[in-house]
């Protein structure tokens, strides 16, 4: 049907879902729904239960965390094709940061509980999705490590 076709098309543009098998994509299309939000919308909050898993199709989402006395710090921006709220698939299902749309966004989102149930039943879906998940999360972990190195910080040399 039209709606699901549009969803599959959307999924296909994404880095995350493009590589998935047709079967998996169709199954995902059944589970997912389109979602849009205006810039400035707070999508989820650090520490709160995250009950949706999202694939960003257009726009940009800033992942922020509140540092007392330094205010909200953006630690990463999610670019189109990437996922956010993967925490919906990993116990204890709590958001690890606060998400804010900083451009008009379009995403395909999935109900966490439903998706988890589907993954339990449909091994093929699980086999197709989890490796992708792993890559996405691993890549984010690696990027974060490099960020942590603060590579561009100016090395201040003491006179003596």
């Amino acid at each position: 049907m039209n709606e699901s076709a549009a969803l599959i098309a959307a999924l296909n543009t994404s880095w995350f879902a493009s590589g998935l098998s047709e079967k998996a994509q169709t199954h995902l299309a059944e589970l997912g729904r389109r979602f849009t939000a205006e810039p400035g919308t707070e999508l989820f909050r650090e520490g709160e239960t995250s009950d949706t898993f999202c694939i960003l199709v257009h726009g940009r989402v800033a992942l922020r965390t509140l540092v007392p006395e330094r205010g909200d710090i953006t630690i990463l921006t999610v670019e189109p094709g990437d996922i956010y709220l993967w925490s919906a698939l990993v116990p204890p299902y709590r958001a690890s940061s606060t998400g804010v749309a900083i451009e008009p966004i379009e995403a395909v989102i999935f109900d966490g509980a439903m998706l988890r149930a589907a993954l339990r039943e449909d091994c093929e879906l699980a086999q197709a999705l989890y490796p992708r998940m792993l890559v996405a999360v691993a890549r984010r972990l690696y990027a974060t490590r490099l960020q942590m190195l603060d590579l561009f910080a100016s090395e201040q040399v003491k006179t003596w």
Binding site: V157, K158, T159, W160
Partner: protein, 284 residues
């Protein structure tokens, strides 16, 4: 603390001493050729050994001689640090605890009792420690005593605002540059030059002796490697090798570990002169 800007016109300089022999501050007065130029560029605000005009600080540059050896020293160094922009420790006592740090391996009370009939009249700390163990130090001039050339280099670096060129290489490098024949290879004389920081100009090898490490251990000094070689190749008893390290910078690592491991300085044995010990204290 240390900033890269050249120190402003006529920086205020102080020279103070803790437990020491005064030799390092004397080195400043021994800059016969530069002394008057130095006082043109620096305002000597406190230097008891040289002038009666005193000022308590603050100091742009404070040269600190000597090791922390008595209770009063503990507060004094912290107080001085507060008033100082560039704190420079000069000499083995200030940078390594000095020869008197050999007592750190000994029984302090026994030491005291051995020299003094009435030890309770004498106040000193059980350990003699380098300044950096108590406050932040911006630069150090090594040596027992310090090298006048390095002192001048530090002063000129200060006026131009560049980093003083104090090399972190082994004494051997200077030995070889000067074409001195290695005393260890050609005479079998034990020499600490390989593990000792350069700066002296390789005086001891030039004078036919082994280096006794008065400039202290260099970065990553492989003292263990040298020790193994001296014990095995040189077939020397542990304690004899230990005594090599038990010198003017014995308390800085890795020399310290060598002394502890090999011995070389007495630990708590009381000696001293029995006759002196017998002399009764008292007033005239």
């Amino acid at each position: 603390m240390a900033s890269n800007a050249p120190v402003t016109a006529r920086p205020r300089v102080g020279v103070v001493k803790f437990a020491s022999c005064d030799g390092c501050q004397l080195t400043l007065l021994d800059l016969e050729d530069e002394l008057l130029a130095v006082v043109d560029h620096f305002e000597i605000v406190d230097f008891p050994e040289a002038t009666s005009s005193r000022s308590p600080g603050p100091y742009d540059v404070l040269f600190v001689e000597g090791s922390v050896s008595e209770p009063a020293h503990l507060e004094r160094i912290v107080e001085l640090r507060k008033q100082t922009r560039h704190l420079v420790t000069i000499g083995a006592c200030a940078t390594a605890g000095g020869i008197q740090a050999l007592r750190n391996w000994a029984d302090h009370d026994a030491f005291r009792a051995a020299v003094y009939t009435n030890p309770e009249w004498v106040h000193s700390l059980a350990r003699s420690t380098p300044i950096a163990e108590h406050v932040t130090v911006d630069a150090e001039l090594r040596g027992c005593p310090i090298d006048p050339g390095q002192l001048v280099e530090l002063l000129t670096a200060l006026t131009t605002g560049r980093r003083p060129q104090l090399r972190d290489e082994a004494v051997c490098m200077e030995c070889k540059r000067q074409g001195v024949v290695c005393v260890m290879v050609s005479k079998g004389t034990p020499c600490l030059g390989q593990v000792t920081q350069t700066g002296c100009g390789a005086i001891c090898p030039r004078f036919g002796r082994g280096c006794y490490g008065c400039f202290g251990p260099r970065e990553q000094a492989n003292a263990a490697g040298l020790t193994r070689h001296l014990q095995m190749a040189g077939d020397r008893p542990r304690e004899e090798v230990g005594r090599l390290f038990a010198g003017f910078t014995a308390y800085s690592e890795p020399f310290r570990s060598m002394v502890t491991e090999l011995g070389g300085t007495r630990t708590g044995r009381t000696g001293g002169d029995p006759d002196v010990a017998a002399t009764t204290g008292g007033r005239r």
